[in-house]
């Protein structure tokens, strides 16, 4: 038979183990959440390397309480005034930085990737053949809904 003191010890040990395991699970969950939150947003339609060549980087958004502007609203702004048939390919929320721009472009923005109705084409020198582009992204301020910046491009022969 267990005495009262032994029973108390057994409960105390069990409590410590339970609390430790709970704390470890909570810490793991928190770290996973932090890792997920800090993961840079990824676009399927244009690589981070391609954007980096235009001095553009996408990081995890820094907005504390989420964007004021909805994803759907941002997508509407991105295609406003574009040709009929212009489609949204995808959009992600990101902290956007464009280097070498005056004033500096740095925003928590909806990055909206679009395909204009007539496709994407370069604007070559006179007499030269236009080259097709592969992506067109528009940055819409997640707090104000304003168009901030755009970038598109493709390869040259």
């Amino acid at each position: 038979m267990l005495g009262i003191k032994q029973l108390q010890k057994w409960f105390a040990r069990r409590m410590i183990v339970t609390l430790t395991v709970s704390a470890l699970v909570a810490a793991a969950a928190f770290l996973a959440l932090v890792a997920a939150t800090n993961t840079p947003p990824v676009l399927r339609t244009v690589s981070a390397k391609t954007l980096a060549a235009s001095r553009i980087s996408l990081e995890a958004p820094t907005l504390g309480f989420g964007p004021k502007i909805s994803q759907a609203s941002a997508e509407r702004v991105a295609v406003l005034g574009e040709s009929p048939g212009t489609a949204v390919r995808e959009s992600v929320l990101a902290h956007v930085t464009v280097s070498g721009t005056v004033p500096p472009v740095e925003c928590d923005c909806w990055v909206v990737s679009i395909m204009p109705g007539g496709g994407i084409w370069s604007n070559p020198p006179s007499g030269q053949k236009a080259q097709p582009g592969s992506y067109d992204v528009r940055f819409i301020d997640a707090a104000t809904g304003q168009f901030v910046f755009g970038n598109e491009g493709g390869t040259v022969p």
């Binding site: 391609t50 060549a53 235009s54 001095r55 406003l80 005034g81 574009e82 040709s83 009929p84 048939g85 212009t86 464009v98 070498g100 721009t101 005056v102 204009p116 109705g117 007539g118 496709g119 084409w121 370069s122 604007n123 070559p124 020198p125 006179s126 007499g127 030269q128 053949k129 236009a130 080259q131 582009g133 528009r138 168009f147 910046f149 755009g150 970038n151 598109e152 491009g153 493709g154 390869t155 040259v156």
Partner: protein
């Protein structure tokens, strides 16, 4: 009664004179031209067989009629004489009416175009492309201020100042009563000087150009 008629007449006269004082800029869909998807240009080009360090012009932000699916442009550009590489800045209008200030340059085997918000239509803006102003970089300026710097991967030996359409169906910037205007055209070849370019017109059947001086050029769509 007579006083009221006089007042109305005077008001109409004032409104009419205001209308005539404003430039008659209007979108005009060219008639009798199909949609061929080919690019056409009007403006001025220069190939001095020497390094070109910059080009600028005060360009009218014209608002043309644009065929759905396409864009129109007005710009100043540094380029290689063979046209394989280039860097430019100017205005852009898309078919749905969206307008931007744009720059575009070739690098890393690619072309890239950036957009920011546009200047007001029917106003003039200085569009300037510089090479080596910051060593190793192109500098794109609008209205006299730097907008962007981008790493330069070629040495320009040519320049052009042009209006451009992406299809024959679009209106070339400019109309007979209000030409697309390229004023204060300058080029840097060791020092800043008048552009003194060669007239360029992709189709004399469809478009007209006018060389007003060594630093001013105009162009327009003949059917408008």
């Amino acid at each position: 009664m007579k006083g009221r008629v006089r007042l109305i007449s005077m008001t109409l006269v004032v409104i009419a004179s205001m209308a005539f004082a404003l430039p008659a800029q209007a979108k005009c869909q060219p008639s009798g031209r199909g949609n061929d998807g080919s690019h056409y240009w009007t403006g001025s080009a220069r190939y001095p067989n020497a390094t070109v360090g910059g080009v600028y012009s005060n360009i009218l932000n014209y608002s043309p009629w644009v065929q759905p699916g396409y864009s129109d442009f007005g710009y100043s550009m540094l380029r290689t004489a063979d046209g394989a590489k280039y860097a430019q800045v100017g205005w852009q209008e898309d078919a749905g009416g969206a307008r931007y200030t744009f720059d575009e340059w070739t690098h890393d085997g690619t072309w890239s175009r950036d957009h920011k918000s546009a200047y007001a239509t029917n106003s003039h803006t200085y569009y300037t492309t510089l090479w080596g102003n910051t060593p190793g970089y192109f500098t794109f300026q609008t209205a006299g201020s730097t907008w962007e710097t981008k790493p330069a991967q070629f040495t320009p030996n040519g320049a052009e100042i042009m209006g451009e359409v992406q299809t024959s169906a679009s209106q070339m910037p400019g109309e007979s009563g209000n030409h697309e205007d390229f004023t204060a055209m300058n080029i840097f070849i060791g020092s800043w000087q008048a552009f003194s370019g060669d007239d360029y017109n992709s189709s004399t059947s469809w478009y007209s150009t006018s060389v007003l001086s060594t630093s001013q050029h105009q162009a327009w769509d003949k059917t408008c």
